[in-house]
């Protein structure tokens, strides 16, 4: 199976209003129905639809061999997925909290992205990791990370984020069909959101999405920050500032080109990140654009987590550290000289 063409993307047959979690389940269902090589594994993925109910109905439909509960051992079950992929399966691994990704650190850093390379191209490694992350849930400091930039240094890996039900559906299907290891980051604060899903559509690899056009300032965001950036854009519009909002989607490969086209018009950039800014996609994006000699009308701004504070449990504090529509809007105003 290969990656997609524009024709695939537009081959959607029906649009349904689904929740983000239903969109995940629909993508898994459609891929498992299309290809018997697709299997799902992880902690409690086959029990009661999974901890976040993203796998509802799958074990009943596809059986316990293809929807497998694993012991609690991330490094090994990601390695097991790699082994499955080497002999023709197309495994999807669920990581219950993105904070657990580092326990699979060797598999993610040394195995998945290097396996094809160090064998001189003898293998493809079609492994998808669905990683469930993000704050707002009062889960405390070890269950709230997005982790979306942790592994962006690694050639051989693809990294993608899902901000809406439609994106979650299309990007998960794209990830499963890709012949490379992909980490898809989901946000657990979004599971209840509803939105249009083009059933049958498959997203394009490495393509950001302009989700609101505007001429004055470019706001780039991922995951929950896309929703908050759109809220900020609504407020800004009332003040006469037209913000363009880009859902970055792919962190590796990073779609610098789509952002560049926007910033060449606006001259102003705000990156909205549910992560520490240093060492992440926002910093990389600014670096790439600046090195290319982009003419800034205002220096780029980052709205992000505090650099030296883990995410706190205490509810008012968790709310305070996260970028909000208000703080994103304030940065956009600053960029526009207001």
């Amino acid at each position: 199976m290969s990656t997609l063409t524009e024709a695939d993307v537009t081959s959607a047959t029906a649009v349904a209003e689904l929740t983000y979690r239903e969109a995940i389940a629909a993508a898994l269902d459609d891929e498992m129905a299309a290809d018997p090589a697709v299997v799902l594994l992880g902690e409690d993925v086959a029990t009661e639809g999974g901890v976040f109910k993203t796998n509802v109905g799958l074990v009943e439909k596809y059986g316990p061999e293809r929807v497998r509960n694993t012991p609690i051992c991330e490094n090994t079950f990601v390695g097991v997925a790699l082994g499955m992929s080497l002999v023709g399966l197309r495994p999807v691994v669920e990581i219950m909290f993105s904070d657990f990704l580092p326990t699979a650190g060797d598999a993610i850093v040394n195995q998945l992205p290097k396996y094809r390379f160090m064998s001189g191209g003898q293998f493809a490694v079609p492994v998808t990791i669905r990683s469930i992350g993000g704050a707002t849930g009062r889960f405390g400091t070890q269950h709230s990370a997005t982790g979306e930039s942790w592994f962006m240094h690694l050639p051989g890996l693809r990294i993608v984020t899902a901000a809406t039900p439609g994106a979650a559906y299309e990007l998960l299907r794209a990830a499963i069909r890709d012949n490379n290891p992909v980490i898809l980051y989901e946000h657990k604060g979004l599971y209840g959101r509803k939105g249009p899903v083009r059933r049958g559509a498959i997203g394009a690899i490495g393509r950001a999405a302009v989700v609101r056009p505007g001429r004055d300032v470019t706001i780039v965001a991922t995951l929950l920050m896309v929703e908050r950036s759109l809220q900020a854009a609504d407020a800004l519009a009332a003040e006469g500032i037209e913000a363009e909002v880009i859902d970055l989607r792919w962190i590796r490969p990073l779609d610098v080109e789509t952002v560049r086209r926007s910033v060449e018009r606006t001259g102003r950039l705000v990156v909205a990140e549910e992560q520490v800014h240093a060492g992440g996609w926002g910093a990389t994006l600014i670096s790439e654009l600046t090195m290319d000699g982009l003419a800034w009308r205002h220096p780029p701004l980052a709205v992000s987590l505090p650099p030296d504070l883990p995410i706190p449990y205490s509810p008012p504090l968790e709310d305070a550290v996260l970028p909000s529509a208000a703080t994103i809007g304030a940065a956009a105003r600053t960029a526009c000289g207001r």
Binding site: T76, M118, Q122
Partner: protein, 322 residues
């Protein structure tokens, strides 16, 4: 249906063990003259484990091994020239020269991995085995790893998962007495690592890793058990590496006399004596095999050294698959 249903080619085993020994000695020489760079982890002394276990595999079976994996790669039938080319970083190597000494991989021969991270090959083998199980294919996965790996998490996690899922996998613990520079008992509170199988409800067997017949018999039994759907086995091969951990290690930490005691039970000599006693291969014929193999290995190394290096453009093609 067991692998041993065909009479094993023990003369072939002898040839292969001699090939591995001479290959490794040649690698050492090529390092000294700078034709191979970086590091290498040699397996002289462990040839019976590689050959005895690999010969219990059937076509379609797979295995993973480690950075000390030249023996397994050759036992699986890799052409020594291709192996040398890989060690020399040439494009004619099995991994296009991108892998090097620690990654002699050849999927066409069931060699789906040679890993430079201790313990990383075990989950990969379990994954392959589970895939066979899901597809109802009568195939088995083997995984070779050292005594040092018995103390890393993936060993315990992989044995546990394989047992829970009754995966058709054989865990081959190559106990060569040292994890890097440390003797087993300095890092591990028990002598017999096969005992750890009990925690994972699978058979654990101690095998004389210098005796290729014993290695083959134990592995064939474990492979048959796995193929029959009866689940995994842990085999602890008691063996010894004649060289240090890696190229830069002269192994001065070994007590006097230890190396000599193990060499008195050299696996090639043990098999050679047996074949001579049984009238299958005379000492003179054995000498001829050694001489022929030496010549073939020397020629293979020379041919490998004449091959070109890969280009960066070629390397870039192997990062992502289409």
């Amino acid at each position: 249906m067991a692998t041993g249903s065909v009479a094993p080619d023990r003369v072939g085993w002898f040839r292969k063990m001699v090939e591995i020994r001479i290959f490794e000695e040649k690698v050492q020489e090529l390092f000294m003259t700078g034709q191979i760079q970086g590091t290498t982890h040699l397996c002289q002394g462990q040839e019976a484990v590689s050959v005895g276990a690999i010969s219990a595999m059937r076509p379609g079976d797979v295995q993973t091994n480690t950075y000390r994996g030249h023996g397994e790669a050759l036992a699986l039938g890799m052409d020594p020239e291709v192996a040398f080319a890989e060690l020399m970083g040439r494009v004619t190597g099995c991994s296009k020269g991108l892998g090097g000494s620690m990654h002699l991989i050849d999927v066409s021969k069931g060699n789906i991995g040679a890993n430079a991270i201790v313990g990383a090959g075990l989950p990969i083998a379990v994954g392959a085995a589970v895939a066979f199980q899901i597809r109802r294919e009568p195939r088995v996965a083997l995984t070779f790893f050292g005594d040092g790996a018995a103390n890393i998490g993936t060993f315990h996690e992989a044995l546990n998962m394989a047992a829970v899922w009754r995966a058709p996998v054989v865990f081959i613990l190559v106990n060569n007495q040292y994890g890097e520079y440390s003797p087993v008992r300095a890092t591990t509170p028990i002598d017999d690592l096969a005992r750890r199988a009990e925690s994972y409800a699978m058979p654990g067997r101690i095998v004389d890793g210098q005796d290729v017949d014993a290695v083959h018999a134990a592995t064939a039994e474990a492979v048959a058990r796995a193929r029959a759907g009866d689940g995994p086995t842990l085999l602890e091969m008691k063996t010894y590496r004649y060289r240090g951990h890696s190229r830069s290690d002269p192994a001065r930490y070994r007590p006097p006399g230890e190396l000599e005691a193990w060499k008195a039970r050299d696996p090639i000599d043990i098999l050679g004596r047996r074949l001579a006693d049984e009238g299958l291969l005379s000492p003179e014929a054995q000498d001829r095999i050694r001489a022929e193999t030496q010549a073939a290995i020397d020629a293979a190394a020379a041919r490998a050294a004449a091959a070109p290096y890969p280009t960066l453009d070629e390397a870039a093609r192997y990062v992502y698959a289409d």
